[in-house]
Amino acid sequence: MENPAPGDQPGIWSRPNPRLLTLRRGEVGAGAVALLLIGLGLSFTDLAVGAALAVAALLVGGFGLAYVGRRFRSWGYLERVEDLLVRRGVMFERLSVVPYGRMQTVEVTAGPLERSLGLATVQLHTASAASDARIPGLDRSTAADLRDRLVGRGEATAEGL
């Protein structure tokens, strides 16, 4: 746990499903392979450009994979008695504290790729556009359970503006 300030909140942090890492690695890998193929294609006409693209593809792939891994490890959420904590970010580390009473809507979304891996994203909205509490890569049943729990707690503690 290398998160300096936010990580030491007492409690057990939940993390996204490792399949999210698979998904992100797949996305980076696909990008790198596409670049590599373009480089390969170009190498028939111009060897230098092709080689440069191939090197670029390797670099993108390598750094991309490392970054995606760190980014995946940075995600976490913690349900406390009165609020939800969500942390994320590698370069810019962020931790949001959203009281259940302030939640206006809880949104569960799943794009086609997420769906194919049985994943979903849970996002909390408050009256403020700046509130930033999004948890990606949850198992679909985990996401549904979390949503129901959040909605229940929100109703129990709902507050006016």
Partner: protein, 443 residues
């Protein structure tokens, strides 16, 4: 204000009423004036027009007049058991019902033409969606004031003829308004650009540049005129309903702002106002999207409370709203923050006092935000790469509204930020429980 203008009798609002018979004239004024201008242009350029052309033009104007009159005929309103109801629409009937328990504010708006005819518009807002807003345009001015007082009393739950206590807090000096307006960034910089363009254009005999400069000056001029006319004679007073805001040169307005709707107070000090020690006070207000036909001061998320005054006066007004928190100056971040934010470091401050957080940010213009912890929507801790190296972090307190509302306790030391992050959620929860929230907006 104790006795009603109609001889002391309690007004009866529960039978059907119509708007003032002259209201189509004011409404039509807005619609017909552009029409007349459009029609007059070819007329003037040709010197005279054919008879049939004139007939068509007159017909168009007449149509607009008839449409206005018809709208007046089919519009009626009343208050039935605590609900303000308006029926309108000739072809598609529309009934708006606004429960008075949901009312957020009741405003009196008088555009120039309406003032000329002794009319006023009563605007009732319920927060939430804009469908929740009700406009009675127009009533006779005296009747409108009467209705407003009556509605406020109903909302408050007191007898309509009970006296309204009103203690003035601040009044804007006209001379200061006149001097400060050209010094606003939005007015000054475009003017300088236009002046530079004109200077260049003269030398190079560039017609295009001159035209652009003229357009800029025109836009800036109308903008400045709008600011001046809406902030002329600006007054704030405390009543039992919250704040009463009045002002306007050509068109006037009287607004009420319940204190619980204020999400944050902001003291803005533009660069060129700082030598004079001037500031402006605005409030971030929850709920209600701005309508297209309203200007920013009359509605929307930002309400001006003091257009321009000395910092001391502004703080006095803020103090009458949030108490001693307005005097909180906060503490500066550690000196090493200068490396990360060299320009804004001299201004950065943050502090907590008495259920409020105060933050000061800004590079050229100083922005002081006072946010009641009871209104905080979420707390965010952010640490960028430079901040991490320097052992700094920023804690944001998000308020309802856009991304820029709320306060940023910028570049605090890591330890302080960590401590704030631990303490603030608890403080906010405690503040929420001890402060009653306002009426919930309409779903």
């Amino acid at each position: 204000m104790a006795a009603s203008p109609t001889g002391g009798s309690t007004p009866v609002w529960d039978s059907w009423h119509r708007l003032h018979p002259l209201s189509p004239v004011v409404q039509a004024g807005r619609r017909i004036l552009p029409l007349v201008v459009v029609l007059a242009v070819p007329f003037l350029s040709q010197g005279s027009s054919t008879k049939s052309q004139t007939l068509v033009d007159a017909g168009l104007v007449a149509l607009a007049v008839v449409a206005g009159a018809a709208e007046w005929l089919v519009t009626r309103w009343r208050i039935e058991s605590g609900v303000l109801r308006i029926d309108t629409g000739l072809v598609r009937r529309r009934t708006t019902k606004l429960p008075l328990s949901r009312v957020q504010s009741i405003d009196l708006v008088r555009p120039g033409t309406a003032r000329l005819l002794g009319l006023a518009e009563v605007r009732v807002r319920s927060g939430g969606s804009r469908e929740g807003d009700v406009r009675l345009a127009y009533l006779a001015a005296e009747r409108a004031e009467h209705l407003r007082d009556g509605l406020l009393a109903l909302v408050r739950g007191t007898h309509p003829s009970s006296p309204v206590s009103e203690s003035p807090i601040a009044r804007t000096s006209t001379s200061r308004l006149l001097v400060s307006t050209p010094l606003r960034g939005a007015v000054l910089w475009p003017t300088l650009v236009a002046a530079a363009l004109l200077a260049f254009g003269r030398h190079l005999t560039h017609g295009g540049l001159v035209a652009v400069a003229t357009l800029i000056l025109l836009a800036v001029g109308t903008g400045a005129a709008r600011i001046l006319s809406s902030q002329y004679g600006f007054e704030v007073a405390r009543t039992q309903d919250g704040l009463l805001i009045r002002g306007g040169a050509v068109g006037t307005f009287t607004e009420t702002l319940a204190l619980h709707r204020i999400q944050a107070l902001r003291v803005v000090e533009p660069l060129l106002w700082r030598p004079f020690g001037w500031a402006k006070l605005v409030a971030d207000v929850a709920g209600g999207q701005r309508r297209r036909d309203e200007d920013r001061s009359a509605s929307g998320r930002i309400r001006t409370l003091v257009p321009v005054a000395t910092r001391t006066e502004v703080l006095r007004v803020a103090e009458s709203i949030v108490g001693p928190a307005a005097r909180e100056v906060g503490t500066a971040p550690p000196t090493r923050a200068r490396l990360k934010a060299p320009l804004s470091y001299p201004l950065l401050r943050a502090g907590l006092l008495d259920g409020y957080a105060v933050s000061v940010v800004g590079r050229v213009r100083r922005l002081t935000t006072i946010i009641p912890l009871a209104k905080v929507q979420s707390v965010r801790w952010v640490q960028g790469p430079v901040q991490r190296r320097l052992g700094l972090a920023t804690v944001h307190l998000d308020a309802a509204g856009g991304r820029s509302t709320g306060a940023a306790l910028r570049d605090r030391s890591s330890e302080e930020a960590r401590e704030l992050l631990g303490r603030l959620p608890t403080l906010c929860a405690a503040a929420r429980r001890s402060t009653p929230a306002g009426p919930a907006p309409l779903p």
